[in-house]
């Protein structure tokens, strides 16, 4: 299992240049990534199930799966792409202004046509 192998190599070879805080932070991040991934798989499954089942109304399903996609977006940006880490202020500006313009585009193209 990759996790174990990684763990061993880390403790044997990296102590020379990875101080202990760095190592702890790294292991913590590793766990967070696994949890994020599990959450994303879970959210995806819920979205598919919500669509496949007839139990909930269509209008609600659309809103529900869009919210799920939004949560996944946050997971990707903040966990996998490290947007919350230090030195990411300008990237955050770039991506969020992009999201703002993107939202405007989508609203215009689906709502303001006849």
């Amino acid at each position: 299992m990759a996790h174990h192998e990684g763990h061993d190599t880390l403790s044997e070879h990296d102590q020379s240049h990875l101080d202990i805080h760095h190592k702890i932070a790294h292991e913590k991040e590793f766990k967070q990534q696994i949890v994020s991934f599990a959450m994303m798989i879970f959210l995806t499954m819920i979205a598919f199930v919500a669509v496949a089942s007839d139990a909930i109304s269509d209008a609600f399903t659309v809103i529900f799966i869009m919210i799920l996609a939004g949560i996944q977006l946050v997971f990707q940006l903040y966990m996998f792409m490290h947007l919350s880490h230090k030195g990411h202020q300008y990237p955050a500006w770039g991506i969020f202004f992009g999201v703002f313009v993107a939202g405007t585009c989508v609203v215009a193209l689906m709502g303001m046509i006849w």
Binding site: F100, A108, M112
Partner: protein
């Protein structure tokens, strides 16, 4: 590799492979000037066609091509590269940087733009230029016969990619490459406006890319995006075009605003009035620029709610713009104002642009817009903002920064002649168009009937166009004369305020032998007032790292050019061949190490070692 080995290069090869932002700036300026003259020639032909009622000079078909190409050329192939030229030549110097963040990407941006511009104009020689208007509205553009519109779509697509990566380069340059002490709120206004403009490019151009891509798919691959009979929707194209198109207006005019802010302050010999308000107004205009595009589509019929929201947002833009106008006036008030050509253009801009702004507010009222729409009133309006704003800015910037870019001073007498002829010609051409529009003359129509009181104003407009043409010829003569035997410029001919005037004219390839320490707004002015002959250095004299030059940007652009040209004629084998060239150039760029080289400190000329 030493600097000397580098300098022995063949000059042609050097210009083709350069990654020096100052040389790329000159390349942008030269190609922009070429397209500006071309677009101006097209404009004069248009005006000759409209000289008399029912005049037969070029005829309807050519008129449509000329008006399409005039608009497209002036916006995309003249104004954009000229602005990028000034940004390249000046912004790194103003922030005390040795280079831009991505020298390679910068050069790629230039060559892509050039490839696109040439492709766009090839239509003239290959069966007819684009004829669907610079907006290329579907279904007019999707059903236009011949290949003209294909040249429009692919040419703009390629040059658009170049512009986009150029914008990213300047965003990162301004954020990451500023000299020590050059905080955001100490940046000169031209740098600020270039920064905001680059941001607008980044977020606006992708919408155009998609609009053009869909147009291309409809024309080349038979997709149905804009074909109403198959469920398509042409309004989608209008949205995409103007989501890009309105920010584009600010992409053009904000750098011009930045130039005026520098020039007016320099020649008033006063600090810019309301610096932080100017910065805020620039950012606000940039932001609001994304929320107003529907005012180009009031007559589409999107309903009263959409129209009202966008009308209010449009009117709102007048507020930060007004702040800027007042700040320029207050900068001059109480200053020791002198009027060399650069400042004449800057001061001439203010009333001209205000007129364009006023008609802009008139047009932002939807019920009134139903009357003005597609009439010469609109033509008058946007020429007042684009010529009165952008072109005046480019001319002002040219006279102001020519010494720094080329090391010589443009002739002031010819410059003033240029200004007065252009200024009078400009108002003579476009002021009567307001009334032509109000009297109901539609734009984009190749002729008009006599006896409708349209004759005199049209005649006057054409005379004005001739005056502007004459002024441009004088400008070209001035440039030629100055290039041949121009007066050498000192490092600081205008007693400037910002960092670019602290170094030699023209700037050496490494810009600053030692990175300067910036101690306040108008950094160079501060040092001069403190009695210093040079900027204080922020680092000891050391070897200077320079980027490697490369032919790959040209090859990459050539590949895309070939691919696009072949695609227009549906020759897919050659098209794929072109893309393979492009891909190969990209792979080479990725695989080869570019570590650059060093200019040794011993090789720096003595005067370059400021601060010893």
């Amino acid at each position: 590799m030493s600097a000397h080995a580098y300098k022995k290069k063949n000059p042609v090869w050097d210009w083709l492979t350069t990654v020096d932002h100052k040389k790329i700036g000159i390349l942008y300026l030269a190609s922009g000037a070429f397209f500006f003259l071309l677009g101006g020639l097209e404009a004069i032909l248009l005006r000759v066609q409209l000289l008399y009622p029912e005049f037969d000079f070029v005829g309807a078909e050519t008129f449509n091509q000329l008006l399409t190409m005039h608009g497209t050329t002036m916006i995309f192939l003249a104004a954009m590269p000229l602005i990028f030229g000034f940004m390249n030549a000046i912004v790194p110097l103003q922030i005390g940087a040795r280079d831009v963040a991505f020298p390679f990407v910068n050069s790629l941006g230039f060559w892509l733009f050039t490839a696109g511009g040439i492709l766009l104009n090839l239509g003239w020689f290959l069966g007819g230029a684009p004829d669907a208007g610079w907006t290329g509205y579907a279904p007019l553009s999707t059903t236009s016969p011949g290949n003209g519109v294909d040249f429009y779509v692919l040419g703009l697509q390629i040059s658009g990619i170049g512009t986009l990566i150029g914008g990213i380069n300047f965003l990162v340059t301004i954020i990451n490459m500023r000299a020590p002490g050059m905080t955001f709120m100490r940046m000169p206004l031209f740098t600020w406006s270039s920064f905001i403009t680059s941001g607008l490019i980044l977020f606006a151009f992708p919408a155009l890319t998609i609009g053009l891509a869909l147009l291309m798919f409809d024309r080349l691959f038979g997709s149905q995006f804009f074909a109403a009979e198959a469920g398509g929707n042409p309004i989608i194209y209008e949205h995409l075009f103007w989501i890009f198109g309105h920010p584009e207006v600010y992409i053009l005019v904000l750098p011009a605003f930045g130039m005026f802010s520098e020039i007016i302050a320099t020649f008033a010999r006063k600090r810019l009035f309301g610096y932080s308000a100017m910065v805020f107004a620039t950012a606000l205009i940039g932001f609001l620029g994304f929320m107003v595009w529907v005012h180009h589509m009031f007559t589409v019929g999107l309903g009263p709610i959409a129209n009202s929201i966008f009308a209010v947002a449009t009117m709102l833009i007048a507020v930060p713009t007004g702040v800027k106008i007042f700040n320029w006036l207050f900068t001059m008030w109480g200053g020791k104002v002198s009027f060399p050509t650069a400042n004449l253009f800057a001061v001439g801009f203010i009333p001209s642009f205000v007129l364009g702004g006023m008609t802009g507010v008139m047009l932002s009222v939807p019920p009134a817009d139903y009357q003005y729409h597609d009439s010469y009133f609109v033509v008058a309006h946007f020429h007042y903002v684009i010529v009165g704003g952008v072109v005046f800015g480019l001319f002002a910037g040219m006279y102001y920064w020519w010494p720094k870019i080329f090391g010589t001073v443009l002739n002031e007498f010819l410059g003033k002649l240029h200004f007065w002829l252009f200024f009078i010609g400009f108002h003579l051409t476009f002021f009567p168009m307001h009334f032509l529009g109000l009297m109901g003359m539609p734009r984009r129509v190749y002729t008009y009937l006599s006896g409708q009181s349209l004759d005199e104003a049209n005649f006057a407009a054409t005379m004005g166009a001739f005056l502007m043409g004459l002024a441009t010829i004088i400008m070209v003569w001035n440039i030629i004369q100055t290039s041949v035997k121009g007066k050498k410029a000192g490092n600081d001919p205008w007693d400037g305020r910002t960092l670019e005037w602290a170094i030699a004219s023209p700037a050496p390839e490494y810009n600053f032998a030692q990175t300067p320490l910036v101690r306040g707004l108008d950094a160079w002015w501060l040092e001069k007032r403190a009695g210093n002959k040079a900027m204080v250095a922020a680092e000891p004299l050391d070897d200077i790292h320079m980027p490697d030059s490369s032919i790959l940007p040209l090859v990459l652009s050539l590949g895309l050019f070939i691919a696009a040209l072949a695609a227009i004629y549906s020759n897919w084998i050659i098209a794929i061949g072109g893309l393979v060239i492009t891909a190969a150039a990209m792979i080479l760029r990725s695989v080869i190490d570019y570590h650059g080289y060093h200019i040794h400190k011993e090789d720096l000329p003595a005067e370059g070692r400021e601060g010893k």
